[in-house]
Symmetry: D2
Subunit: 354 residues, 4 copies
């Protein structure tokens, strides 16, 4: 299959390759080290410490799960009580693309119409006010938490102000705030972003730092700034089939992603994000120059572009892209995604093909 | 942590290291290859073909999940209808050590008293006869399938005859048979074993071939000889949070485990099993020579031995072992496990310490 | 509490009193009769036969449950497979007012925007076409059935044409059709209705005939025209905590509701509906005469009317009504409901107060 | 069917007739009273007050559900957290005869071998000690509560001492105690009983007072001495499909059952129990006189007796009884149950037939 690859450019998604070379190297170096299972090993301890430090949450519980849907389903089920549901944008990953995993856990997803994938504090407040003024609320699902993704499924970003406003509504109504950071590295590295890991640590009840789409082979680090929020989370994870035997593999990956460059002091996670953003920004620049219409205003590693169907057919022969949605009879919106593995020379080859 | 290791022998379990070197090498070689997600890639295709061939099940559905509890919970939930439960030994992994994952999926585990971890066809028939002659059966959980593990949690093995008998009772009553093969390599490599992969393919409605404890970094290959048994299994896996984004990682691992040695024609999976069994057999030999009492009669990679508590305290300074159960006031049964990573020199060092 | 009643008119809902006198009389007559439990008695047998005859479904399974949410949750959970969800209007009872009972059973409610409580075949077809053309559909909840209510929560009615069109889309896509008939008597008795019980028996995979709001003390009769659609439904009902020990009580109630008047041949259920519709029609007539604005166009026993808040405060001193929703700063939409128990003299008293 | 009855004696169970005449009379008297739904009416308020007084629990939450399995499934699901299971005798109703309703709610039933339907404090302590000393307990289901039935499924009774001991172990380990009182009237009325309603109110975290089998048409009163133990229980009940629209029907039934005789001050519930116990005691007396073997030592309304199969065949022509279990090839244990509706003349007729 390596041969076929020579002929194609891969921009379909950000999880098409293995892992950042530094992680691969750690797999090689540590392969014969013996360690206990289930995340009780020293690699995990070290990774947790580095994450706690980066997030400014010295007491946080940090748990490693293997994928985003798994993390969402497990955390949301654990944070909600039986009478509660989770508020999310109608385009949220949990609303659409998790095959009903939240409902399989017994909870309703209460959707708000998103704008470019985002909801805002005013919508949330309105939903909560309406709910609490409803005489029948005891016959209804109680909003118990809010789910956001940063960046969103459309690559867009919550500003610190927007996130803070949502946080404040949550506090006011005593509900929890959870952020899905499947592609968090690409948010953190975006020049327009003003939400830091420490902001997440301060404003969220729970969030996860994505590894799978951000340079790891796999793994998502769930951070609970106050670990007492979810008692017995280890057992709950096990019950969800989400307790990974060789937890060390995620420990060493996140230990590496959150390792600082000895010179710059920069986290590898930040560096990975920057590589992808540079590629996406260059791609956006080219697309605009050539007169294409960009969609949704994503400033992160996902580039959404409106294409004429005929042209798309041609492009598809040389480039792997993601279909996003049809747009009228003759056009399609596609997604081109960059990652830690995107080479700038491939971006330039793509530019020529466009 | 590497330093501390020099001083200890690791026999606590069979998933303490990374992966067999051949698998690690595949990770290195393929790291920059681009491929689609969710198990739709060529690595997975190849691995599935090799597994189908090894099991004599040319039409089988083969699905890769990341862990044993996840595989059990997902398969059992998918195979049972709402009114059904699963029959298992009271010592079965699903009965005891999965934090209620089967019940979290809505199903009862109907236990039979195991002997050295095994149940038999006569017990099963009796349970089914009693159930079906009960006038209140419509107020009860219907036995819908049988769960076995091969080897069992006690390292013991179902003989082909015992397995065939259970299979026949299942057919007679129209219920399904599922085998948990978390440590299947160590069953297949045991000299006393007479159940082949092809036997499993012929006698089971579903089984999984364990990777995590048998040489892989992680991964279990669920085999459905008749894939129509579970419609929409891909979606069910997603709903259980068990769909792995970079499925290719499991594809290349199982492709490697089920690769044949060009000279001997032997699967790597078989070779890994033999390494562990050789170590365990040597250990058993030493223990018997030294007068220890072996427990449960395990002929596989887990060695259970009765130890005086005082002696155990000494041993614990040099050796990582697993506590199994107390035995009277002064004794304990411990487990010593070998794996693909066990070096015979370490077995000899352990022999000296005993 | 009887004293306080003299001063108030009760139009808040249709389940504020006990049962139609004919049912009460049956309770009295049969009280000391001994019969077996769980719906296996002769009263239930007779009621089932009468319902089968009325619905033109000679082979139907008929099951008696004690309430609407219970019936919905049990039937929907039993009809859906794990990967499926149920399509409903966003105002559907299961979408809003069942405290997440459908999700607690593991299934997503896939909402369509309703118009006066109704969805139509074109919306349904569009949802199904979009779903089946989505390349990611295996990561999503599969639409497995449609939930309608007749009359709807807004008192409106599906026409036979509208229902037939929805039925045909369901057949085309191989999904099931279920109708919630909590207030079915008031649909059947409405002069604008053209959907008969036999039409429901012919077009639905399942529906329930409401007793609680239509003259019974309690009870809903679930009808499965093809009983093989839900195997082991008795056990599933038990598992949902919905198997009623003295099933006979529902048998004798539905036997009475579906008893024919010896002269007219009319079912008591029809007669009960007519009483309520006559009261509601008179009320609508008065309201229109007095210049009030009626909402949603309900032709059944629920009358929705826009009231000025000041006037409403006055009215509330003499009349029990249901708050429906606020309408601007100064107005409110309220619901006035009639039932089998509404006396025309009370309607006239209400007319004077308006 | 009334005709057929003349020829048979009904001792099969305690829920074969309607309701105690005093309850029937209340249905008649109140039929046209209007009241709000869902248990918010005055009948329910009054019944709650009477139950609180009888149980010595002035702050208790009292909730009316329609059946025992429903009450058990709803209360247990509401009291357990996700990582917890419920400890019960292996013969407990929740263990055997609820079609997996507890597991459908996501929780494991952790069984202890019962003696005549009862478990004891020593068994419970042993289970809890073993669990808490297990190094793998975080991979296991945590015992979170204890389920007992009073009387048990075998008609036997926990003594106050036995119940107090179990209560103390629960307190020591911080787990909850729940008692299923489906037939509680018959416990309270048994001469050997020394556990009062006030004892239950003092020792339990939750219990239910059975109506269905104790003189009501239907209904079970769940008592939570500390109502804050289950927040949002109303919504949870709704979510379980267990919220009864005309809650008043249960309110007036329990109001009647807990009404005091103006002269004796005795509750109707106590009087109902005494009637049944008198009948059962007379039956036991006759059986012993005639040389039959009584089983399990039930001192309540259920009489278990060993019968030769041939004799049983004869008896079955004239008497409805319950099959309990086979006993060897030639014998069967049957259950004869009395109730509020049993007439002493029928007991004497049965005596003649035996």
């Amino acid at each position: 299959m390596e041969a076929a690859q020579a002929n194609k450019l891969f921009f379909a998604s950000d999880y098409q390759e293995g892992a950042h070379p530094a992680i691969l190297q750690r797999f090689v170096e540590t392969n014969l080290v013996s360690s206990p299972g289930y995340g009780t090993d020293d690699f995990c301890m070290e990774a947790r410490e580095r994450i706690r430090e980066a997030c400014g949450t010295p007491e946080a519980g940090v748990f490693f799960l293997t994928g985003g849907t798994q993390a969402n389903a497990t955390v949301i089920d654990a944070m909600l009580r039986p009478w509660e549901g989770v508020v999310a944008a109608d385009s949220g990953h949990i609303s659409v693309h998790e095959a009903g995993a939240i409902e399989a856990g017994g909870h309703k997803v209460l959707t708000l119409p998103g704008k470019d994938g985002m909801i805002n504090a005013a919508q949330l407040r309105s939903l909560l006010e309406t709910f609490h003024s409803d005489g029948n609320k005891d016959h209804m699902v109680w909003p118990g938490m809010v789910y956001l993704s940063q960046p969103t499924e459309f690559g867009t970003l919550y500003s610190l102000e927007a996130l803070t406003d949502i946080h404040e509504v949550c506090r006011e109504y005593g509900i929890r705030l959870y952020v899905d950071g499947a592609r968090l590295a690409y948010a953190l590295a975006s020049p327009v972003n003003d939400v830091s890991l420490a902001d997440l640590g301060r404003l969220c009840d729970a969030f996860y730092i994505g590894g799978t789409k951000c340079g790891a082979f796999f793994g998502e680090a769930v951070v609970l700034p106050d670990p007492e929020l979810i008692p017995h989370f280890f057992t709950i994870i096990k019950q969800h089939g989400a307790l990974f035997a060789k937890g060390r593999l995620m420990g060493l990956q996140f230990g590496t992603l959150f390792d600082k460059d000895p010179e710059s002091g920069e986290l590898l996670y930040a560096q990975i994000g920057r590589t992808a953003i540079a590629a996406a920004d260059r791609l956006r620049e080219v697309l605009i120059q050539k007169g294409y219409t960009l969609c949704f205003g994503s400033p992160t590693n996902q580039v959404f572009v409106l294409m004429e169907n005929k042209q798309l057919e041609r492009l598809g022969r040389s480039v792997e892209y993601s279909f996003w949605e049809t747009h009228g009879e003759d056009h399609t919106i596609i997604r081109l995604a960059s990652s830690w593995a995107t080479r700038m020379e491939d971006v330039e080859r793509l530019a020529e093909l466009l």
